[in-house]
Symmetry: C2
């Protein structure tokens, strides 16, 4: 049998095409003849575009998907393990918050180039058109999927694209004396209510800093002096790390980049075409699950291929039925995290929330599992995670209620 | 000045192009040179497509918009006033539920043809391309707007299209001895939980019956005999009205038709193009507000033109800012009504809900205004209607709570 994967053939994960790569491995392992189409130039020769990377967080789901095709160890050896978040308060103090129990870490892969791409055009670079037949076309062509555009012609195709009011800009923290300028095994976070900056380590001992901020705030910072003034007000400890001159320069290198959440249903079109990864469910980057959800897509599709004997006419509708609610749940959680963050995230809130969750987890370890743990360190289906979380929230509120009633009774 | 309205030039409202027509009147009244583009053939000569009409409900908002350009009386003279709903129970009993207080009626306009249309192609029928310049292009080209497709290329354009699991089919109730077969000034409703049929009068003394049902249920009814069996089970009193032979025939005339809810933002693209009506906010037909919201668009745009001296560079962003939340609120209400209906609407529920609302309205006439009244008989901004409704709902619950607490105290 013959399957087409749109996106992409590179020997590296240093691209925005991980789901396509992984899918190719899955189909090849089943004995399919796989052909991969990539509209962009070979990433090994391409110039890296500075300022448009998004770091890739690999956690349990993604690792399980890699493991199945024997790639877990290879990939992990190229990543940096992250044990905890490090919260930077305005006064410069730093407080670590571990991700989970001991041994529960997330992995940070090389930073990845992102582009808006028109993948799998069957028009060759020279302009010649080429028609290609396949038993299955797998669209893994990212948030701006060209394959998905064809789905819009389908009757009763549900689709939404939602841009958030925040944009992002990137800066680099260079090494100091050849070493990381901050602790490397932490996700560094500067929570400042509607603004937020994070820093993630790279293998070359630099950090990539990403500043998230409403577009209207970016528009107010119009000169180099205003950049420094802004950083002095909100991120004073980051100025010496990035460097004042680099800050002034890099703030204006690119316009602030947009972030989009995409949902659609169904994922299949007839029995010949299916969407996976960001093409099916681009999400805002505030849960670090984008790549993991895409990898889990491959794993789930593979499980359904087993169950239904590779009969595409049954596999594709079943994949839609099973996977749509899970992908939409994680896209919603990422958006929820964004809204939470936008509304009231500062360093105190971060610490407080963590403490409450941990306290309840300690007194009722089987009943109260922190949301983040379920998402990041289990393969519990995303939509069940959300259901359980809503239920826990009710329990949490009931406890508070019982508590206050008891106190009134005293 | 020169404004283009996409859609449509007819001298009749018997088309799916009311917002375009009305907009042309508004712009002409301001002294703009208006050119109207209509991709469909002249509706006066066109054959009417049976089975794809949606009746047009005109209520307060739409009437206010028509009044401003002196068209209210002309249109009303062509409509049929509706005083109440008429609920048909399974056993054939009929119970009227008035729309509002005495004198509060809605108007039913001629049934309207709907087609998926690619309006305002600048390609003439002969195939010649034509480039046309205008100071403003107004896209009123319906739920499948071609103008809106161009908006998708815009950076940070939010868009969603959601198809509901229900489809619809239409039947006709012919006159009996030259007269309406049922009371003509009522919206006839057969609520049957997940199914629902409605019947609306036409000027030729027929009724158009619309059966709403999940697609998967339509798929189960595969033969003429099954059609009759289905109607005998759920709508026995409608069989003699429609006629068994006509039922068997018309059930298979067309496949069940889909219904879509469309939201987007912004409504403008630069200072040259703006969307109105279904092109900006197609909604499911369960609140009878689609046309009224579109007409109110014209009125609101006109008010903003007054405020900002016809400066399009200011008018267009302001129109987006003001109108998007209102249109989204009414689209959400229409969807809410659909979900309510799908979950638990039968004849008892209809009567019960109405009674509760009326009771509270009588004891607190200034505080509790039924949602339907605010939407249908006022120009209260839709998003404020929803806000007030949520607040009322809280009051209603508090009353129930206080009530039960009081009883416990006895």
């Amino acid at each position: 049998t013959n399957a087409k994967i749109c996106k992409p053939l590179t020997d590296s994960f240093n691209s925005f095409s991980q789901v396509g790569n992984l899918n190719a491995c899955y189909f090849a392992k089943r004995g399919f003849q796989v052909e991969v189409f990539e509209s962009r130039e070979d990433i090994r020769q391409a110039k890296i575009v500075k300022g448009r990377s998004i770091n890739l967080v690999l956690s349990h789901r993604g690792r399980q998907a890699l493991k199945h095709v024997g790639m877990e160890d290879t990939i992990i050896s190229k990543g940096i393990p992250m044990h905890s978040r490090m919260i930077h308060a305005l006064n410069g103090t730093q407080s670590p918050i571990p991700y989970g129990k001991k041994g529960q870490v997330i992995l940070l892969l090389h930073s990845a180039e992102t582009t808006e791409t028109g993948a799998m055009t069957f028009v060759r670079a020279e302009g010649a058109k080429e028609e290609i037949q396949a038993d299955l076309i797998v669209g893994c062509d990212g948030a701006f999927s060209a394959i998905r555009k064809q789905f819009l012609r389908q009757s009763r195709f549900n689709y939404s694209q939602t841009y958030i009011p925040h944009g992002y800009l990137e800066f680099t923290i260079p090494p100091i004396n050849g070493e990381f300028a901050m602790k490397p095994n932490n996700l560094h976070i500067w929570p400042r209510n509607t603004f937020m900056m994070i820093a993630l380590p790279n293998l070359d001992k630099t950090f990539t800093c990403t500043l998230f901020m409403p577009f209207e705030e970016f528009e107010k910072v119009t000169t180099g002096d205003k950049v420094i003034e802004f950083f002095q007000k909100y991120f004073p400890d980051a100025i010496p790390l990035i460097g004042a001159e680099a800050l002034k320069r890099d703030f204006f290198r690119l316009p602030a980049q947009a972030m989009v959440s995409v949902k659609c249903s169904p994922y299949h079109f007839g029995d010949k075409c299916v969407l996976m990864g960001d093409a099916a469910h681009a999400m805002v980057p505030f849960y670090g699950q984008g790549m993991n959800a895409g990898f889990e897509d491959c794993l789930v599709f593979n499980e359904i291929m087993d169950q239904l004997n590779e009969d595409f006419s049954a596999v594709l509708p079943e994949y839609t039925r099973v996977r749509v609610p899970d992908d939409q749940a994680i896209a919603d959680l990422a958006m929820y995290n964004y809204v939470e963050m936008r509304e009231h995230v500062n360093s105190k809130w971060f610490l407080f929330r963590k403490n409450v969750d941990n306290f309840l987890h300690i007194i009722m370890p089987r009943t109260i599992i922190p949301l983040y743990t379920m998402v990041t360190f289990t393969r519990t289906r995303y939509h069940k995670v959300v259901k359980h979380w809503h239920w826990q929230d009710k329990v949490r509120k009931d406890i508070v209620h019982v508590h206050s009633t008891l106190f009134k009774g005293l």
